[in-house]
C-alpha cells in the first residue's frame, strides 16, 4: 500500500465521520473535529503505522492532510536510508 493510502486510512480512523474521498482535502480550518486531542491522536496513529517519530515542535505546522503527507514521506525516506 502506498504512503498516501496508508495515511488516508489513519485519517479515516481518527476522523471517523468523514468520508474517505474527502480526506485528502482536510485542513485544520475546514475540519471542526480537528482539535488538539485529534492532533495528538493523529500523531500517535501515524507514528505507529509508519514507525517514525514526528518531532513535537513540528506538529503545529502539520495543519492539513497534504502537509502531513509531505512530512511522513520525508520521515519514511529518512528511516529507509
Amino acid at each position: 500500500m502506498k504512503i498516501k493510502e496508508r495515511l488516508i486510512r489513519c485519517f479515516a480512523a481518527v476522523f471517523s465521520e468523514r468520508e474517505e474521498k474527502t480526506i485528502p482535502f482536510l485542513e485544520v480550518g475546514n475540519t471542526k473535529e480537528w482539535d488538539s486531542l485529534a492532533f495528538v491522536m493523529l500523531m500517535n496513529v501515524v507514528q505507529q503505522e509508519f514507525s517514525i517519530e514526528i518531532p513535537i515542535g513540528e506538529l503545529e505546522q502539520m495543519n492539513s492532510f497534504e502537509k502531513f503527507l509531505q512530512k511522513v514521506e520525508l520521515l519514511v525516506k529518512e528511516v529507509e536510508k
Partner: protein, 580 residues
Amino acid sequence: MPDSLLEALEIIKQYSQNDETNVFRCGFFCGSTPLSLKSMVHANLCVALKDRRVELSEGMYGDLLGSLLRELTEGVSLDCIIVVIEWEDLDPRLGLRAQAGWLSPYEDMLSSFRSKCALFLRYLKALAERMPVVVSLPSLPLLPLHFSVRRQANDWKAGIKKEIALFAMELVAVSTIRMLDVDILSEEASFFDRYSAESDLAYGFPYTLDFAIIFARHLAALAVPPRPLKGIIVDLDDTLWKGILGEDGAEGVTWDLEHGSHMHGVFQLFLQSLAKTGVLIAVASKNDPVRVEELFKKRSMLLERNAFFPLMAGWEVKSHSVQKILLMWNVHADAVAFVDDSPLEVEEVRKGVPELRCFLFPKQKPGAILKLIFELRDLFGKEFVSHEDALRLESIKHGAEITEQLASSEEGYEDFLREIKPKLTLFNQAGVFDKRAFELINKTNQFNMNGLRCSEHEWKTVVERESGFVFVASYEDKFGPLGKIAVIAGHCDKKRFVVTHWVMSCRAFGRRIEYCMLAFLFKKLSIEKVCFHYIPTDRNGPFKEFLTTLECSEKNSWDIQRDIFMERAPILYHDVEEEI
C-alpha cells in the same frame, strides 16, 4: 484484540454500528488525558462484547478524585467503571509535571499520600456498591525524589509501598472491585518502557503507546472477564509422568526430583488444584487401560485417580477419544484444553476438533512447563469458587449413568428416575442478587432460552423489577446434590408469565427439571399461560428440543397454555419445595 492504535480506532468505528438498544456503558476515569489508552480499552471491550455497542464516558483531566465524586453524586448507573490511578493522582508532587516534589519533606508527602489513599478508598467502595469497579494502582515508575541511591531501599519509598499495599488489601476485599495486579505488566513492559516523559509533558498522556496497548488489554479483560475454560484433557506418558508405561512398567514411570521428572509432579499438582475449583479433568491416552488402572492402584500419585473422569485409555485415534470425553462431559470443545507431549497427537487432535485449545507439553524443559502452567492458570482462573464447583465432577459421573439408563429402555428409565428420589428446591430470589444465578446466566449455552448475557448492573435490574420473579433451582437425588443448577426469571402480566431468562446447567440434563420448574410456576403463580422470549442461537438446541416436546413453536408465538402443558409434560417424580 487490537495490536495498534489504528486497528483500535477502526474496531471502534466498526462496532459503533451495533444495535443501540444493547449498549454496554462503561466509565473510564484517569487523572491524565485518556487519549490512546481510552481508545485501546474501548476497542478491547468492543471485541470482548462482540454484538453489543460499547459507550465509554470519561472524567475531568487532572481531577480523578473529583471525577469519581461527580460520578457518585450525579452519575447514572453504568455497567462497569474503570479507574486508573497513578502516583500523581495520590499526590501531585509525585508526578513529573509538578516540580514541588523534589524539595518537599518526605514525611509530609507520605502523610498526604496516606490521606488521599483513604479518600480514594471511600469513593471506590461507594461506587462498587452500585456497579463493578476495575481499579489499577500506579503502574509507572516512581521518580527518584529521595536523596538515597535507587538500589538502596529507604524509609520514604518503603512507606509509600506500605500505604499502597494497605490500600490494595482493602480494595481486593470488596467483591465488586477487580484490581489489576500490576506485576503482570512487568512480563511485557519494563518500567522505563511504560513512561513517556515527552508525551506526559506535551499532552498530559504519560504512557508510551506500546505500553498503552498492553495496559488496555488487561484493564478491558478485568472489566469483561473472559469465561474460564471448563475442562482439560491430558495425555499420560511423558505428560502426567515421565516414561512410557507400556515399556517402563508401573514402577518405571516417575514424577519426582530424584528421577529428573519433578515438573511432571508439579503438573499433576496443578491439575489437582484445578480439580478442586471444579475444573473437569480427563485422560486421553494411547495405553493399555488395564495397566493404567493397575498403576493408579499400585502407585500413589499426586493427582488422585478420582480427580478425573473419564479415563480413556486405548488405541483409537486420539481426536475420537477427545470427542467421546466432550460428549460425556456435555461441554463444548471451545471450553476445553488438551495437553499432550507428542506434536503429532497435538496436530491430529487440533485438526479433528478445531475448537479445542491444544498445547504441546514441553517435556524435559522445566521452564517451558512452568510457562505452560502460567498460561493454563489464566485460562482456568476464576473470580470465586462456588459450592457447585465442588459438586461438578460427581454430578457429571452420575449424569453419565443417567444417560446410560436413558439409552437402555424407556420403561427402565421411568423406574430409574423414580428410584433416584429427585428433589428440587426453588428459591424465590426476586430482589436478591445471587452470584451463582448471575454466573449461570452468563455461562450456560445449551439450555439457554435466548443466549442473552447480562452485566451485573443489568441482572440487578432484572431481579429488582417490579412484578418480576426470579427462581433459582437447586437439585439433589440419591447420588448427591447438584447445587444450584437453573435460573428462571420473568414477569407476570395478567394471567400469563413472560419468561425473559431461563438457563439450566448441562449437568442437570435428563432429570426433567425443566418440566418440574414450569409445573411449579403454573401452580405457584396461578397463571394460565407461559410465554417464552425464545431466540435460537448456535448452541441452544437443547432448549429448542424441550419446546418441541411441548409442541411449543413459532406458530403459537412460543406460548404454552396450562392445560396443554399438563397434557404433554412427562411424569414428574420430584419432591418440590420452595424456600423464600
